[in-house]
């Protein structure tokens, strides 16, 4: 049984011109000890998907879909699941910490609130958590304020808070984007270790393929509010099927000894939700575009080891190797 299952998640935001669909039918399954990376560009709906799971969207958002946690249906916002069930790490550690509260108190907060620990129990647990995330486990460290810490240490504090109630599912929304490359590597390393040690399910939301490569078992590529390709990390990165995944991988510079040529940029830009015209959302930028792509939105089809939302890519790979 999957730890977390989502069926047909739809999120739209109320605006002056009616509801704008931002997430358009996302289904996912997450198993114990598995990391699913959701990768996409800004506006693709990846962050909204994770906020919807946590029940953290504002009231102007309309959320539809079915959610199951360990087989049991739940409705976000789910005060009962937050903490021990699902927990989340955000992008910018400075803005997710309270600047006028010591870090020890901030890590203790979920323990006091969700687990009804006494202050003394919580203080002890805080030091254990500090140790687990690689921070000094001393009472003196508990007394420090976020501004006294480096970006990497702050993110470790945020991770300690998220882990405080031993969640089954950890959602990390671009947890390393605001950090330096070397610190990013340390934090990813830490998340990977914690995840396998605690057998958590993890959803890693990112725009960075190298992050996907480092931590994920499976990857879901998101474009214009939909998953366009879902499969195991190795397969999708090695032999991408959807034209968007292919173009995305081809457009990024890599640190190899290959001679430097002109980057294969994807022309245009991702569509905004108001620009969707009923065809495939990627068709204006797609190299394989055909007449049918402009008229009909493709569906996500299971195909061999993965799911792809492009009938042409599927046909193409059975006839010739993808170009």
């Amino acid at each position: 049984m999957p730890l977390l299952q989502v069926e047909n998640l739809q999120v739209s935001f109320r605006t002056h011109n009616g509801f704008l669909p931002v997430v358009r039918g996302v289904s996912l399954q997450l198993h114990e000890g598995e990391t699913l990376a959701v990768v996409g560009e800004s506006g693709s709906g990846k962050s909204v998907t994770s906020l919807a799971l946590m029940g953290l969207l504002p009231s102007k958002a309309r959320v539809d879909g079915s959610f199951y946690f360990q087989g049991e249906p739940f409705e976000p916002p789910q005060g009962k699941l937050r903490g021990h069930g699902l927990s989340m790490i955000f992008q910018n550690p400075m803005s997710s910490l309270n600047p006028v509260m010591t870090v020890g108190k901030q890590v203790a907060e979920p323990l006091l609130f969700h687990q009804k620990m006494t202050v003394r129990e919580a203080d002890k647990k805080v030091l254990e958590l500090f140790h687990e995330v690689g921070l000094p486990s001393t009472p003196a460290f508990s007394q420090r304020y976020p501004h006294q810490l480096s970006g990497g240490m702050r993110q470790r504090v945020v991770i300690a808070i998220a882990l405080a109630c031993a969640p089954s599912v950890l959602i990390a929304d671009e947890p390393t984007t605001a950090l330096d490359v070397t610190i990013q590597a340390q934090i990813l390393d830490l998340l990977k270790q914690l995840q396998s040690h605690r057998k958590m399910g993890m959803i890693m939301v990112t725009h960075d393929m190298s992050v996907v490569e480092t931590v994920a078992h499976r990857v879901a590529v998101m474009y214009a509010g939909q998953f366009v390709e879902v499969g195991s990390c190795g397969q999708v990165l090695q032999s991408p099927a959807h034209p968007y995944t292919r173009a995305l991988l081809a457009s990024r510079p890599t640190l190899t000894r290959e001679p430097v040529g002109v980057l294969k940029a994807i022309s245009g830009r991702p569509p905004s939700p108001s620009e969707l015209d009923g065809g495939c959302p990627f068709h204006p930028r797609c190299s394989l575009v055909e007449e049918s792509c402009r008229k009909e939105e493709p569906v996500l089809q299971e195909w061999e080891d993965r799911a792809v939302r492009c009938p042409i890519a599927k046909r193409g790979t059975t006839v010739a190797s993808p170009g």
Partner: protein
């Protein structure tokens, strides 16, 4: 030499130590030099100092051989200001939100009294077209554009004064992956066709290799290594550069027990895998070996102990 920086030192008011602790570098006409390093390494401060935006307390900057800027001489040369332009990381915040794109573009022409009236508008439209935007885009406002388009507008504005050096501070970091490649290609084309030198600041070695021929690595206000981009990326001599390369490649990090340093030794010593007694005591000088390779390390990585990067 187009731009020559010698032992440049910057110290912000009230700071305990210098943010730039003596940096020297040269840029030739049309050359693309990258500056890489973590936040706080001083790479943005260096770019800002070259624009006269930081308190310089030592060293000097020469432009085409002429002394421009030193601790005693603030930057006043209008011709140089015209020749050096900058593009910024955040394209949203670098344009005036309440001026149309065209008015935004005309600002530098006004300041430098370059073209007037119809001529200047013509010039602005031509550049908009060159960076790949519809000339009609001029009448629209910044909020109507996407990040990639705004960065193109920022580039067009920087190019209006026909600069010889473009300072680019993380110009693609805030952009989407699919758009990043478009902007990198555009910068490469513009630099080649106009013989425009580029000082490209980035934390991403893969992006740097795509665009630049030479790279300088900074750590805590000093240069620690520089050389041809492939040499530095694939055969790093300084252990810090090696750490950056490993992190970029997503390789697992080697654990080094951190110890606090007393301060007089090598700044990288608390994190260094090759440190020895001498490193705690003595600041390594920046030495040039053959083939223009420069490194500040007592025990640079030789071919024998290079890890597979």
């Amino acid at each position: 030499m187009l731009l020559q920086v010698d032992d440049l030192r910057v110290r912000y008011d009230g700071a305990d130590e210098e943010t730039l602790k003596g940096v020297s570098l040269q840029i030739k006409a049309g050359e693309r030099l990258a500056l890489v390093g973590e936040s706080g390494s001083g790479k943005s401060t260096l770019a800002r100092a070259l624009l006269g935006l930081c308190p310089v307390v030592g060293g000097e900057v020469r432009f085409q051989g002429e002394l421009l800027l030193s601790a005693k001489q603030p930057l006043r040369n209008q011709g140089y200001r015209r020749a050096v332009q900058m593009i910024f990381q955040d394209p949203y915040n670098s344009l005036h939100p309440r001026l149309s794109v065209e008015k935004n573009l005309l600002e530098p022409l006004k300041i430098h009294q370059l073209y007037q009236g119809e001529k200047s508008v013509e010039k602005a439209r031509a550049l908009l077209a060159r960076v790949g935007l519809d000339p009609e885009a001029g009448s629209r406002y910044p909020h109507e554009f996407s990040g990639g388009q705004l960065q193109r507008i920022g580039i067009a504005r920087a190019l209006l004064t026909e600069p010889q050096i473009l300072l680019a501070d993380e110009p693609v970091s805030a952009l989407d992956v699919s758009v990043q490649a478009q902007v990198l290609n555009l910068l490469a084309e513009l630099s080649s066709e106009r013989r425009l030198a580029l000082l490209f600041i980035s934390h991403d070695l893969a992006v740097v290799r795509q665009l630049c021929g030479r790279v300088a690595v900074m750590y805590r206000g000093r240069l620690v290594e520089s050389g041809a981009v492939d040499d530095v990326c694939f055969e790093p001599a300084h252990p810090y550069t090696e750490t950056l390369v490993e992190a970029t490649l997503g390789h697992p990090l080697k654990k080094v027990a951190r110890k606090e340093s007393a301060g007089q030794g090598c700044p990288f010593v608390p994190r260094c895998r090759k440190r020895e007694e001498r490193c705690w005591q003595e600041l390594p000088p920046l030495l040039e070996n053959t083939a223009g390779r420069v490194c500040a390390c007592h025990f640079p990585i030789g071919t024998s102990d290079r890890q597979n990067v």
